[in-house]
């Protein structure tokens, strides 16, 4: 989240799209309701009517996978009607930047497309540069290649009619949302967009979110109270586990994983440290070398020296352009290319798409180590229905894991608050927390290398490691230490003392930090700030529900990101009633500002608000995404349409996919699979349900797998409410109980009726007779940027079942 849960109360318009927030974040939803109490418009745009819709002013049903068309229409509406926040757009965004002459867009394809490689040459989308290497900026917007003019042209095709034809949303409903949300383009109004996996799990997931960035920048809603783009993160510590990068492509703190072309730390830093020609751009990533060296120092301690490149050479290097994400892991596993591995606290045999392939892939492993609270569809895959254990070779180690109240440490909530939890009781039986598994395991591996030698033992043996895990010690390691006596300002810190903030981190090896964004969370002066429980606020903070003394928030306790965009060039809040920061008497008050510099009016020291962007401006046009510098509508990988109105390019030209015999995809408008399927979870179950199905009171409230369908579809198929149903896709077959409801209605798409059904994915065979994985139907096609699969849209068919075997 750019903002935080409580801040939603400050919104004048709340657009919930790609999320069923009331169901999945029920407690935080009170802040949406507080906004409503204060007069905000609440809107829910989603394929089905849900608990969220019931609490909003109105629900707009949208065909799954057409969010870009819907939002592209809003961008067109804003530009056509000049509803954008002019001063904000002119001064704080790259609207006036001139795009280079190589950029073009023609019938659904951007310039630089290589069809054989399914890849764009992104250098074709570069900005025009001046003699100093900086961007060419035309504040008059007269140059036809100004970003705002290219954007205007691009979205001029997103007329109400075209958008309505594709999304299945009536023109009246489109205008209802556009008018209410675009009313926040005024300086003293704020609108927020709340999304979740309904946006990310698409082959255009990143561009769904980019679309919201375009809208929020146009309306001046980034950085302000009640604004922002708020990812409602699902999993308990998915914010923290992303920050700490349990991901192939990142190191902790949002650094790219080294690849083979960066052989030295200097080469790495050169490739990953942006340089700006704009004097008033903070270009915060210019600090990256300090954070990288401090990370290496945290991992290798005294063994990391300037002479040995801080042990950078030991780190694994990816092959450039290769994808090592889990869908690729599973494909390699299916082809027998992996020997063994660890699956901890996740249940891919139920929650990954195209589950039949996942289950078959796991059979190919020689060994598997799982750590769980309960048996799951993953731990017991070798004895799943239809499998003969006597033919299953995989050796499985199943380690009992500790539950939250049985351990201590920190987690980071969706608003980036770092929260400490104490250990209440000992772990059940012989259960252990994950670190009390990995620390002794790694020590055994170290002992083997010490005793026997082996290949490349250095990174294992030279590591700054520990004999026994203590959470508090690792909270400190994450914050970071001085490794040499150092003077910061007028204060001298000794070797072994905690660094006070990331401003003190250096590239010379005198500091460590396992994650620079958390530096400052645990200091000599104030101790462990994640334990703070002080609700004290200034009146200015109280006015927007800011609690700066409760826990701590990364970065540097800044609660609202990009908050320099909430003030004008003189540091005066756009909305004084709901000010986030303000420049008063030569200093900032309110939230921790995005950097200490004075406001932009100070031509010497002032800085632009978007400090993480190289040139300091919010980016409408971006050459980073793999699938284009501006979001464009493409159909899902499986679609009920054979063409659409925006271009000849039916689906994304660059989405990723696999092509094994178990990766079947229905062709466009396949009459065998005419119905769109979307999937979701439930308040009473946690994602794949691996834990909550084992809690009797929760299972009783949501006992079995169902399929929600319209009365119209049920009539067509001769299905009654409560009937057993078989749902089939090109990849699998799933049994469910029919739930015939007005919550789902047929869509009219380009003149033809398209049915949509919805199914939860919380059920699996280890809980007897409740149904089995819905994801056996879903598809492994993935977003080209993130490789997140398109679990939210695929094509299926269904019929009434004669008998049911999976559901009792």
């Amino acid at each position: 989240m750019t903002n935080h849960w409580i801040d939603i109360q400050n919104s004048d318009a709340v657009l919930i799209i790609g999320s069923n927030a009331a169901e999945h974040h029920p407690v935080a939803f009170k802040w949406v309701m507080r906004a409503k109490d204060r007069g905000a418009a609440l809107m829910h745009v989603d394929p089905k009517f849900s608990r969220t819709s019931a609490r909003c002013d109105f629900h707009v049903p949208l065909r799954s996978g057409t969010d870009i068309a819907f939002l592209g229409g809003m961008i067109n509406h804003i530009l056509e009607k000049e509803l954008y926040f002019k001063e904000y757009v002119e001064k704080y965004t790259n609207a006036a930047f001139v795009v280079g002459k190589n950029y073009a867009f023609n019938d659904g394809l951007f310039s630089g497309f290589n069809a054989a490689a399914r890849r764009y040459d992104k250098s074709m989308w570069a900005m025009e540069t001046g003699p100093d290497g900086g961007p060419v900026i035309d504040p008059s917007f007269k140059n036809e290649r100004c970003v705002i003019n290219l954007m205007r042209k691009h979205y001029s095709r997103y007329t109400l009619k075209n958008v309505s034809d594709i999304t299945g949303v009536s023109q009246d409903n489109l205008l209802k949302v556009y008018d209410r949300f675009c009313a926040t383009g005024k300086p003293d109004k704020a609108g927020t967009i709340m999304y979740a996996l309904g946006w990310t799990q698409h082959t255009v997931g990143v561009q769904n979110i980019r679309c919201s960035a375009l809208i929020q920048l146009l309306l001046g809603n980034i950085g302000v109270a009640g604004g922002g783009i708020n990812a409602l993160r699902g999993e308990p510590n998915v914010q923290g586990s992303t920050d700490h990068a349990l991901l192939y492509n990142n190191l902790p703190g949002y650094h790219a994983t080294p690849n083979a072309s960066w052989q030295t730390l200097a080469e790495y830093n050169k490739a990953n440290t942006p340089v700006t020609a704009l004097k008033n751009s903070a270009n915060w990533w210019s600090n990256r070398p300090k954070y990288m060296t401090s990370l290496l120092k945290g991992w290798f301690g005294d063994a990391a020296t300037p002479e040995n490149d801080f042990c950078y050479a030991y780190l694994p290097k990816l092959e450039p352009g290769q994808d090592y994400s889990y869908m690729y892991v599973m494909d390699k596993m299916y082809h027998g290319k992996l020997e063994g591995g660890f699956i901890f606290g996740v249940n891919p045999m139920n929650s990954f798409p195209n589950t039949n392939k996942m289950r078959a892939a796991l059979d190919k492993l020689d060994w598997l180590v799982c750590s769980e609270l309960h048996h799951s569809e993953t731990t017991d895959n070798w004895q799943r229905p239809g499998s003969d254990p006597k033919s299953q070779k995989t050796e499985v180690f199943l380690l009992p894991s500790a539950h939250r109240i049985e351990k201590e440490g920190t987690i980071s909530n969706s608003g980036r608050w770092l929260q400490w939890f104490d250990q209440g009781v000992k772990p059940a039986g012989e259960a252990r927390n994950f670190a009390d598994i990995f620390v002794p395991l790694f020590n055994k591996i170290r002992a083997l290398y010490t005793a026997e030698g082996g290949v490349l033992p250095e990174p294992i043996l030279k590591m700054h490691w520990t004999e026994k895990f203590k959470a508090d010690e690792w909270t400190k390691r994450i914050n970071g230490f001085f490794w040499a006596d150092t003077k910061v300002g007028d204060k001298t810190y000794k070797r072994g003392q905690l660094v006070p903030a990331f401003g003190a981190l250096t590239a010379d090896g005198s500091t460590s930090s396992l994650n620079w964004v958390y530096a400052g969370s645990y200091t000599e002066e104030e101790g462990n700030k994640s334990k703070r429980r002080d609700t004290t606020q200034t009146p200015m903070q109280a006015a927007i529900g800011l609690y700066p003394n409760w826990s701590w928030c990364w970065p540097v306790n800044r609660r609202i990101l990009y908050n320099r965009a909430s003030v004008d060039e003189n540091g005066k809040p756009w909305n004084p009633e709901r000010a986030v920061i303000a420049w008063e008497n030569g200093k900032w008050t309110g939230d921790v500002p995005d950097g200490p510099w004075p406001p932009m009016a100070d031509k010497e020291k002032g800085k632009l608000p978007f400090i993480m962007m190289k040139d300091g401006h919010g980016g409408f046009f971006a050459s980073g995404p793999a699938d284009g510098p501006l979001p464009e509508h493409y159909e899902p990988a499986e679609t009920p349409l054979s063409s659409h109105v925006f271009s000849k390019q039916l689906s994304s030209p660059v989405y990723k996919f696999h092509s094994s015999d178990m990766d079947q995809v229905a062709p466009p408008a396949d009459p065998r699979y005419p119905i769109v399927l979307t999937t979701y979870s439930l308040t009473e179950h946690w994602c794949g349900g691996g834990e909550t199905r084992n809690v009797p009171n929760l299972l009783e409230t949501e006992p079995q797998l169902y399929v929600e369908m319209s009365h119209e579809l049920a009539r067509e198929k001769g299905i009654q409410n409560g009937d057993g149903v078989i749902v089939e896709s090109a990849r699998g077959r799933v049994e469910a109980i029919a739930m015939v409801t007005i919550r789902i209605r047929p869509f009219t798409v380009m003149g033809k009726t398209v049915h949509l059904i919805g199914m939860p994915f919380a059920y699996g065979w280890t809980t007897p007779k409740c149904g089995d994985s819905t994801n056996r139907l879903t598809i492994g096609a993935c977003d080209p940027n993130t490789t997140i699969p398109e679990a939210k849209a695929c094509c299926v068919n269904l019929h009434k079942a004669d008998t049911l075997t999976e559901i009792g």
Binding site: K332, I405, I788
Partner: protein, 188 residues
């Protein structure tokens, strides 16, 4: 420190409510006897965080004689103001669940059952497998002769259920081994 909602409520329940009910003529003996026997009496309050969605509602765990006796929402936590959803409210049942795994289990190749094992044996087996796989398969140079120190045939999946400290431990250990196939729920 500022008076919190919780300490205020405590004062309120101990004083104002009882007093006013007594004044209204209620017989308090029965209520007081019940209050004396409530399950959290004498229990230690431990601050924890609900383990489900990333609202991260803080919870109070009541612990007596080393056993969990009750859980409830933390009324001082500014985001939740003490509320919990169905899952958070069921937290206590999760700890008393008979389905919980209690001991390391082992399934041998082609076996049709689990066997209980001790931790030391289990971790020794895994350490040996990891070392053998790494020594045999780690890629020191790529096809172009560049140093890559990459271990491709072992993977790590998980987990957003881990604390930040557990994540830091897992990441460091995995990169030390050279693991590149590492991913978790953030990509689901």
């Amino acid at each position: 420190m500022k008076k919190t909602r919780r300490s205020f409520l405590k004062g309120l329940s101990a004083g104002v409510i009882c007093l006013s009910l007594g004044q209204l003529g209620f017989d308090l003996k029965e209520a007081q006897a019940f209050a004396g026997a409530i399950k959290i009496e004498g229990a230690k309050e431990v601050i924890s965080v609900c383990p489900f969605c990333s609202v991260c509602c803080q919870v109070i765990a009541y612990v007596r004689d080393g056993a969990l006796v009750s859980t409830e929402g933390d009324p001082d936590f500014p985001v939740s103001e003490g509320a919990l959803c169905a899952k958070g409210a069921a937290l206590f049942s999760m700890y008393s669940s008979h389905h919980r795994l209690q001991k390391p289990l082992y399934r041998a190749p082609y076996s049709d059952r689990w066997e209980e094992k001790d931790w030391d044996w289990t971790l020794n087996q895994i350490a040996r497998k990891v070392k053998n796989a790494r020594d045999k398969n780690i890629i020191l140079k790529d096809e172009k002769g560049r140093t890559v120190n990459r271990l491709e045939n072992i993977f790590m999946m998980g987990t957003s259920h881990a604390s930040n400290e557990e994540c830091a431990v897992i990441h460091q250990a995995m990169r030390g081994l050279g693991v590149v196939h590492m991913d978790h729920q953030a990509r689901v």
